[in-house]
Each structure stands twice: as C-alpha cells, then as structure tokens.
Amino acid sequence: MSVKSANLNWKRTSPVAVVFFVFNAARQLGVNGLPAIAVVFTAFASASNERKVLILSGLLAFVAIAILSSILHWLRFRFCITQDRVLVRSGVFRREELSVDFGRIQNVNIREPFYMRPFGLALLSIDTAGSSKKEIILGGIPKPLAIHLRNAMLAKSSDDGSALAEKSDDIADNPILLSRQSKDIVIYGLTANFMIWVAIAAGAFFSTFDVGGEIRIWIMEHIDSIAAVSMVQDGLGAPAVAIIAVATLLAIFALLPLISVLGALFRHHGYQLRLEGETFQKSSGLLTRFDESLKRHKIQAMVLKQNLIARFFKRTNMQLRVASAGSAAEMGELSMALRPAFQVPALSESELPVLVNVFFPGCEPENVTFTRVNRRRLGMVTLGWGVLPPLLFTTIVLMIAVSGWFALLLPLVLVFAGLIVNQVWTKIGYAVVGDYGFIRKGFLGAETTVFPLFKVQRVDIRQTPGQRRKGLAQLSIHLASHTLKIPYVAVEDAKIYRDLALYHVESSKQAWY
C-alpha cells in the first residue's frame, strides 16, 4: 500500500458499538452453538442444586468473557476514510487490515439498530466486489456521517454520478416514489410467504381426521393436572375435548400469519422509496431502521410475485435482484445468497405499472401477451414419467395389501393430477416487449420475471429425442441473478428468443454490471 499510515486519521466507533459486537457474538453462538446450548439446558434441568450453581456460574463467566471480548474487539477496531478508500483495522489477536477502493464498492446499506437510535448512531455495511466478497461493517458511527459516507462511496463507485453526492447529504430532499402504510405492510406480511397458508390448510385438513384424537390423548396424558380439561370432559364429554384440541392446533397454525405480519411490520414499517440520481434508496423499520440503496444499473431482474392470497387483495410483491445473489451462491458464498432481495411490498394494480417503469424505463408490463408452451407434451411427459409410475406402484401395493377397491384410486388421482398440470400450464408463458424479456410461471398464483434483454449472460437450448420429434425444446436463460427455464417451447420460438437476446447483448454498449 502506498498510503503512509502516519498521515491517516484512524477513528474509533462509538462505545455503543460494544453492544453490536455482543449481539454479533450472540448470533454466532446461536448459529454455531445450538447443540451445546441444548446440552447445557438439559444438564441444568436434571442437575442437583450444587451442580446448578456450578453451571450457572459457568454461564455467567461465559457471558462475562463474551462481553469482555466484545469490548476488546471494539477497542481494537479502527477505521479510516480517505479521499477514495476505506481502511479498517480489526481483530484482537490476529490483526487484519482491509483496504477497499470506493470504486470497487458494490453497495452500501445503513442500518439503525434500536439500541443505537437513541444515540443518533448507525451501522454502515459495505459490500465489496471481486472474488473476495467481504462485507465491512462500521458499527456505531454518527448517522449524518454514515449518510455522507454512503453518498460519497456510491458516487465514486459509479462513473456517471460523481456530481450527485455532494449535491445533497440528506436523502429526505428527494421526492418519495412510494411509501407504505401499515395496512400495506400487513397485507405484505400475509402475502409474502404462501407456505404459511399451506401449513394452515394442511393443519386443518389433518386435524379433522386423526390428529385431533391423538392430541386429545396427548393432552390427557401430559396436562392431566390442568383441572379444566377434566372439568370440560366431565361436563361436556370427550368430543368437546377433541374440539378444544383441534382449536388449539388451529390457533398454533393461525399464529404463523401473525408472526409473518409482525416480522413484516418490524422490517418494513414506514417504508419509503426515493430516487437520488440513479440510486434507489429505501428506508424502513420499526425498531431497527434499515436504509438500503440500489443502483439502477445493478438491477439484473425484477420478480413480480402474486400468490393466491395476494390475488385476493389485488396486490403484487416486487423483488429486485442483483448479481451477487445467484452467482455467489454457487461459489459457496452463502452469506451473500442469504441477503434478502430489494423488496417493494404490496403494490396495488394502479401502482404496479408505475413502479415497474420507475425501475425499468420503457417497460410496459400491461401490454404483455404471454405465449404458452405445448400443453399436450407438458401434460403427457409430466403425467407419464412423473405421476404415473409412483401412482401405479402405490396402487398395486395397496390393492395387494389392503383391498382391490384401490384400483378406483388410479383414475381419480390421475384426473386430479391432470387438473394440476393443466393449471400449471396456464401459468407458464414467455414474451418479449421492447427491450425486456418476460417469463412467467406459477400454479395458483403467478411469478413473473422481467429482465432487460441485454443483461442475459448465456442462453442454452436443450432437446430430448422426444422434443426433437415434436419440434420442441427447453430454453434456459441465465441471468447474473438467477436462471430461468421454459420447457416445451416451440423450437422456432426458442431460437428467436435466443437470437433476440443475443442481439441485445451483443449490440448493447451498456455494461451489464
């Protein structure tokens, strides 16, 4: 490094950052030491009183060590900002010095954890580019400094926006593109994850059969001391206990959406989206405030999700994907893959086209007519290879072992599977409008990926012998964020889609990253 260390102004973060290090240590322990915690917990439960004191003092010592090490980490953590780079020194025993050029910074996010907000402090996390994907976190610096640094870094890392940063240090100056009320966030919480509804449906389905009875037995065995149960049983009889058991189970499942809604509120409360130059900035959060930014040219694809529940509310959840997520995951960098996508929650029918245009100028999602794939082939291959063999096997086993009546099961299940495949078929579609490609899939809901054609990384066309005979193919479009596959496309269409994407890739002078 050519920079002279003597001239550098090394700074320390605020003492509140110790809390951040403690939280970090606790999270690491939670992830790595869960089995150990379980062992200690069970040991504690069955230990004698003297042992309990021993275990407790051991735990206390452990906590003390964790806090002490956090303080040491904080003491040894220094950072320094120069004109065009950020330097960090960290580590208690093994010293590490990191130096990152502003130009190589991928993204900068600001977080205000609840324990830092009273002090006006923030946490600045810096994603860097390159093979050594490493995140630098400056925990506990004053918020104005964090915002200033973010703007300076983002300005340097783009070629076009160098003048933007100095213009305004306060993002609040920019007009709001989108803000979300609590109602929107609640709807987002209800629609973000369809699996919670599947779990409830499954719970309701199974509890009407056998589980209710089993739970009743379980309650009788375990919570026998609860007088209420026996009182209810005495007064109303066993069926009432079963009903109560089912209700309890349903209540547990009903908690899932509640948890989801609470999570959404904590994360997205007071959601505001702004545009500064070419950088989208989003701030949200109930206790911990999250300030995330996303450069327009970093967006690789937009995913529009509308599941059954969202369809009921006439809302669509938008996700913007960047390069690091998909490609980093395959290189074994899970931490990057787990990074949540840039969310734009619960867009109404009128907001959706406006927001799509904000992120992808000139994109007209309302004018898209999707072309469908070959229905016969999709149905026959899925049913013939995927459904029929296991179904046939199960039926024969059941017929031999239980009763010949199970033969009736075969056509019934086959018709049902056929209906499902047909429903899936209605959702698979592809289209190109202007400079953008559209690919849709789904079952009851739909998930549409929109991508600028010039951002395509690679195109594959595959043909099985059967597909070759029928003039069909599977088209795979690899984006830097994720891969899209369309099965059973007419081979001419696949080739046109490929040639069109390649035309955009090869004639575009814009960088994809």
Binding site: E278, R296, A323, G326, S327, E330, M331, P361, G362, G434, D435, V456, Q457, R458, V459, D460, I461, R462, Q463, T464, P465, R468, S476, H478, L479, A480, T483, K495, I496, R498, D499, L500, L502, Y503, V505, E506, K509, W512, Y513
Partner: protein
C-alpha cells in the same frame, strides 16, 4: 438514462441456427478411445476373477456381459465425442453437444468474465486442450470445450481475451 428502443425485424436477426459447426481435433477421437480403453481394461480383467477362483465355467458369463456392456458404452461415448461441435462468430461462441439430449449453448464474448485453457496428462499426450469460459450467470463453468488441439485452444483463448479487452476499453 436514455433507453433506445430499436425496432428489430425478427427475420433480419442474425440466426445462430445457420452456423456451420467446426468438429473437434482429429486426435480427440483417439484420446477418447484411449481413455475408454484405460477405464475398461481393468474392469474386464477383474470380471474374470470369479471364473479363475472357482473354476466354474458358467461364470464366464460375467466377463462376457461386461465386454458387451463395455462395447456399447464406449461406442456411445466415442460417438458422443464425435457429434460435438463449436462455432465462433464475431460476437459470440456456440457449442453444441449431446447424442440423444442435444444441447446448444451460446455465450457472447462481452459477457465472459474469464477464459481458461487446461489440459490433463492424457490430453497432453495427444496434444489436446480444453477451453473453459466463465460468465456471471448460471453454474461455475458456463462453457467447456474438450478436444481442441492445444494450438487451437490457445488461439481461441487469445481471441476471446482480446474481445474481453475490447469491450472493457469501450
């Protein structure tokens, strides 16, 4: 940001379909044959073991079936090597492979992150090399062409590296 929306006539698009695929180096067939030979000889020899140990003549059926299997599999693998082909255009490279499951991959030079030439011991014996292309999308290796003469592989690598430099400087 000015997005230009050029009207494209689909019939005028350059079609990757009209490419003439260049087959692999002539020595590639010999390399694959040698490779198959190296793999199957010990297996065939081992399959004689039951007969030699027990002296039951009917156990000769094992080496017989192994031989037939080896014949079929190695024939298919050799055939698969022969149908591979690649083509280079001004802006992209196409590679097609697969005997039953045909696959065509096309990568544009301006999406290539880096190019790699590698050659194993057997490949070196036949003066062959592989070219690997990496982009930011999909799995780690996006395109791997085996069975190029080492001179041709180096030529391709240099050509694509040049193209990458070109797009960077623009």
């Amino acid at each position: 940001m000015a997005f230009v929306n050029v009207q494209v006539d689909l019939a005028d698009l350059p079609q990757a379909d009209e490419l003439v695929m260049e087959p692999m180096a002539p020595s590639y067939e010999r390399e694959v044959k040698t490779q198959q030979f190296i793999i199957w000889v010990p297996i065939v020899l081992l399959s004689f073991l039951p007969v030699l140990l027990t002296q039951f003549l009917w156990l000769l059926a094992i080496p017989m079936s192994v031989l037939i299997l080896a014949g079929i599999i190695s024939r298919l693998i050799i055939k698969k090597a022969l149908v591979k082909g690649f083509a280079m255009r001004e802006f992209d490279i196409a590679y097609c492979s697969g005997l039953f499951w045909r696959k065509t991959v096309i990568v544009a030079y301006n999406r290539v992150q880096h190019v790699e030439v590698s050659s194993g011991p057997l490949q070196r014996k036949f003066d062959l090399a592989s070219v690997k292309l990496f982009t930011a999308g999909g799995t780690s290796v996006d395109l791997k062409i085996d069975g190029l003469s080492s001179g041709r592989a180096e030529q391709i690598r240099a050509f694509i590296a040049d193209k990458i430099e070109e797009t960077k400087s623009e």
